[in-house]
């Protein structure tokens, strides 16, 4: 058990400390860093999906007034490490995907850089490419682990025997699309190389973690970490795509090293973000369920097929939720990959859980219909007493309470379970539910310093605020741990000059950084009491915080959706989303609610709009901009309500918090697909749910 903080500042719906700067636009993002006489860079991308660069003609580009340098695979500096082939930019003539960088132009202004990049002529020896993911490919392989280090396959009991013996079974294939994170701020860096300085390389980079970013870049260039400083006070959204540096970061650093003393700025274009900034792999999920007539599961199985790139493996852990969500004696979850001539996939909001709660949660809805059991009741009947995978007790598991509270708030009890029986004018109306889950994580490494100076306290840690609220929430935690008013506490984040912090990922930021702050603050208090001398300071590490290994810790939620489908056109609207979550203690209800509704809104977008369409002939995403890759706009969203239980979990950390950045997107798409089925009687198993999949079958 952890000693939970007495909540005083925690639990207050404080407004964002960076709010005024953000509404004015004066918060400084990476590309906007004031710099003396900056140069501007533009990437030259491969126009084939597989082959070799045989020649690059830079003469016309270099002849342009204002061009400072043109770096290519032929003349770029040799990097110290090329182990990470995504970051080993301009090191090889080999082209592994369309859009891969083959050159970089640096010029006095951005217009010239862009013009010059167009003038670079690249010749290739082209080879046949293959970008098509199919479950029946013969070259599928079993990765050693799935992200980040989970078992690839977990098989318990005998699914086949349970399928043969059970009176009710389901065997269907579901799929989720390829998705691009598309934060509104494109990936961008301002880089400065000052040879001879103590810290020769400074990167103002849009990143979810200044320290992991520094570590990766230092490794690529063979620098000591102390020789690199990364600064990032504000991030214009990341959703995982800025969790690890992508090719644009070493490219900018390389350009800066070619122009010592000159700051260089590089921002990806929106189009480039579809090949260079990571994405979520499409997934193909074969689901099998076996149950008795009361709905008790005898078996649950998910076999996942997804893609990765040829230069770097990323194996999304889509099968994970099926391992722990529901009780079933026989269980199976497997992952197989196809290494294609495609850009490098990576983290996108709730990797694993987000796609991995689509197939299972739609399958359960189908099973409920077959059995004539309410879908909420079916989930309750399969509630496991302990974690089915590890056998450990739950630190807290309130899925059933979320489902019941959500049903009450949503008005579920009035629901007629029969599909395609409600009509409001020209609109067919239905409702659906799905469960939501996300593991409670804490990273191993983070340090905070608490300082007292000039009558104020400050917490220093290289944390990141991606809009998640760290600027506001971390002072609340520090204030309660110090026992002082939150107004007396400042926070300093987003700079490697502050102590090391883990990446803002896995919904673990607040859990990790907050734990380090609590360790430091409690020690500060013990050492200096409530009248510290000016200049007092104490450092604390997250690994000094109590760590519970006896329990299985997850956040849970229940998502409800109402769908309206036009009887003639098939147009789909979702006028209402409602989620109830059990996420431990909510540290700031205002910013916390925004995270949950933001996740749900992105889930709605995934359900109805988003899909990156790979054109197999040329091997690139055809709809590579925001006009063609549809993300939900304001008028697509009507009502999104997020509620949470007053959950007390003494095992997770001193804040009692479970992490809220990702759970909001988990299960949303399944709830929408289930609502569309209830409205129309048409079961859509392949995202997105679009009208073409309904039209032929509408009642």
């Amino acid at each position: 058990m952890t000693e939970l903080l007495e909540p005083r500042a925690i639990g207050q719906a404080l407004a964002r400390r960076d709010g005024e700067r953000k509404v004015r636009g004066t918060a400084t993002y990476a590309y906007e860093t004031p710099a003396e006489h900056p140069a501007y860079a533009q990437i030259v991308q491969a126009t084939i999906a597989r082959g070799r660069v045989t020649g690059i003609d830079t003469a016309r580009a270099e002849a342009l007034d204002g061009v400072l340098t043109v770096l290519t695979v032929e003349n770029a500096e040799r990097l110290a490490s090329t182990d990470d082939r995504e970051l080993a930019v301009l090191q090889s003539a080999e082209v592994a995907f369309r859009g891969q960088p083959v050159g970089l132009v640096v010029a006095e202004d951005s217009e010239t850089a862009r013009h010059a990049a167009d003038l670079v002529r690249v010749s290739y020896e082209e080879q046949p490419h293959d970008t098509e993911l199919r479950a029946d490919r013969e070259d599928l392989y079993k990765p050693e682990k799935v992200n980040p280090a989970y078992d690839t396959d977990v098989i318990k009991g005998d699914v086949d025997a349970a399928m043969a013996a059970s009176p009710v079974t389901l065997d269907h294939t579901y799929s989720t699309a390829m998705y691009h994170n598309n934060p509104l701020e494109p990936h961008a860096t301002t880089a400065l190389w000052e040879p001879g300085a103590d810290v020769p390389l400074t990167l103002w980079d849009s990143t979810q973690g200044v320290h992991p970013d520094r570590s990766a870049v230092a490794g690529v260039f063979g620098l000591d970490e102390k020789q690199v400083r990364v600064v990032c006070p504000f991030v214009g959204g990341g959703f995982g795509s800025k969790g690890l540096p992508h090719a644009n970061v070493p490219l900018t650093a390389m350009a800066a090293r070619a122009l010592p003393g000159r700051p260089v700025k590089l921002a990806l274009t929106r189009q480039q973000m579809f090949s260079l900034a990571g994405y979520r792999t499409p997934t193909i999920q074969r689901m099998r369920l076996a149950a008795d007539r009361d709905g008790r599961l005898a078996a649950i199985a998910i076999d996942v097929v997804e893609q990765t790139s040829r230069i770097k493996e990323f194996a999304e852990q889509t099968g994970l939720p099926a391992r722990m969500m529901y009780a079933a004696p026989s269980r199976r979850s497997t992952h197989r990959l196809a290494a294609l001539d495609v850009p490098v996939p990576s983290w996108m909001r709730a990797p694993g859980e987000c796609p991995g709660m689509f197939g299972p949660e739609v399958a359960l809805d189908e099973l409920a219909g077959e059995l004539g059991i309410d879908p909420i009741e079916l989930r309750i009947r399969n509630e496991p007493a302990a974690d089915p995978e590890t056998g450990k007790p739950w630190s807290s598991r309130n899925l059933v309470e979320c489902l019941r509270e959500g049903a009450r708030r949503f008005g579920w009890h009035e629901r007629d379970p029969r599909p395609a029986t409600r009509r409001d004018g020209d609109w067919l109306v239905g409702t659906g539910v799905a469960a939501s889950v996300y593991p409670t994580m804490r990273q191993a490494k983070s340090t905070a310093v608490i300082r007292f100076s000039g009558g104020r306290y400050a917490a220093e840690i290289g944390a990141a605020d991606l809009g998640t609220g760290a600027w506001t929430v971390l002072p609340q935690i520090a204030a309660d741990a110090l026992g002082v008013p939150v107004g007396d506490v400042d926070v300093r984040i987003g700079d490697t000059r502050y102590p090391i912090a883990s990446v803002a990922g896995g919904s673990s930021g607040t859990n990790t950084w907050g734990s380090a702050i609590v360790v430091a603050a409690r020690e500060f208090r013990d050492k200096f009491g409530d009248r510290p001398a000016d200049g007092s300071e104490v450092s604390g590490d997250v690994d000094q915080a109590e760590q519970d290994d006896e329990h299985s810790s997850y956040a849970f939620g229940a998502q409800f959706a109402e769908a309206r489908v036009h009887a003639d056109t098939g147009e789909i609207r979702v006028p209402r989303l409602l989620g109830v979550f059990a996420v431990g203690r909510m540290i700031n209800p205002r910013t916390g609610r925004s995270q949950l509704i933001g996740g749900m809104t992105m889930g709605l977008s995934m359900a109805l709009h988003e899909t990156s369409v790979m054109d197999p002939r040329v091997g690139q995403v055809a709809n590579h901009d925001l006009a063609e890759y549809h993300i939900a706009a304001n008028a697509d969203v009507t009502s999104v309500e997020a509620h949470w239980l007053d959950e007390h979990d003494p095992y997770v950390n001193a804040m009692g918090s479970k992490g809220i950045g990702e759970i909001g997107i988990v299960g949303t798409a399944a709830a929408v697909a289930n609502a569309v089925h209830h409205a129309t009687g048409v079961r859509v198993r392949h995202l997105p749910v679009t009208l073409d999949k309904l039209l032929d079958a509408l009642p």
Binding site: V23, D65, E111, R270, L466, G467, V640
Partner: protein, 180 residues
């Protein structure tokens, strides 16, 4: 032959201040503001008029500065989200966005703020939208009207259900429900 860039001398009035500058005739108004004048309040999200992050008030109307060439706006009055006056509609919208937590990462926010000021002006002048039932009556600033009129400004953090009440609060009309 490669064409040589053409420079033009222009004056831009930005947030009440006059700036004389030479611009490449290919320079967008957005890049002129951000890269020449150092005013980074308007943001570049797509550079193609698809996301709305670059929205400014151009001679009083909301406009996508990434789709405007700076050379064509010699003498124009440009107001960004950081602009004055401190007590006008812009300030009310900014405060309402903070009060309603109508943003997370903040990158689309200055564009949303300028767009919201434009919406309030357009409604005041009786301009109908796609969802206005009676094209001849003065439109009422309902949630649906705000959502429709603000749909040119994408927010990937998903703050829409907070943006609508913020715009209505700035207009002095309460939202029909806290969660719409």
């Amino acid at each position: 032959m490669d064409e040589r860039p053409v420079q033009a001398e222009i004056t831009l009035h930005v947030d009440g201040q006059a700036h004389e500058l030479a611009v490449d005739t290919r320079t967008t108004l957005l890049d002129a503001l951000r890269e020449r004048l150092g005013n980074t309040s308007p943001k570049k999200g797509c550079d193609h008029g698809q996301c709305g992050a670059c929205t400014v008030l151009l001679d009083g109307e909301r406009a996508l500065s990434c789709l405007a060439l700076a050379v064509a706006y010699d003498g124009a009055e440009i107001t960004t989200a950081d602009g004055l006056p401190a007590d006008g509609a812009l300030a009310q919208v900014r405060q309402a966005f903070v009060d309603e937590d109508a943003f997370q990462c903040g990158y689309c926010t200055p564009g949303q703020v300028c767009s919201a000021v434009g919406v309030l002006n357009e409604v005041r002048r009786g301009w109908p939208s796609h969802v206005t039932a009676d094209l001849l009556a003065d439109p009422e600033l309902s949630d649906a009207e705000v959502a429709e009129r603000m749909s040119g400004n994408l927010c990937r953090c998903g703050a829409y259900v907070n943006i609508v009440p913020a715009v209505r609060a700035a207009a002095g009309s309460a939202s029909t429900g806290g969660t719409r």
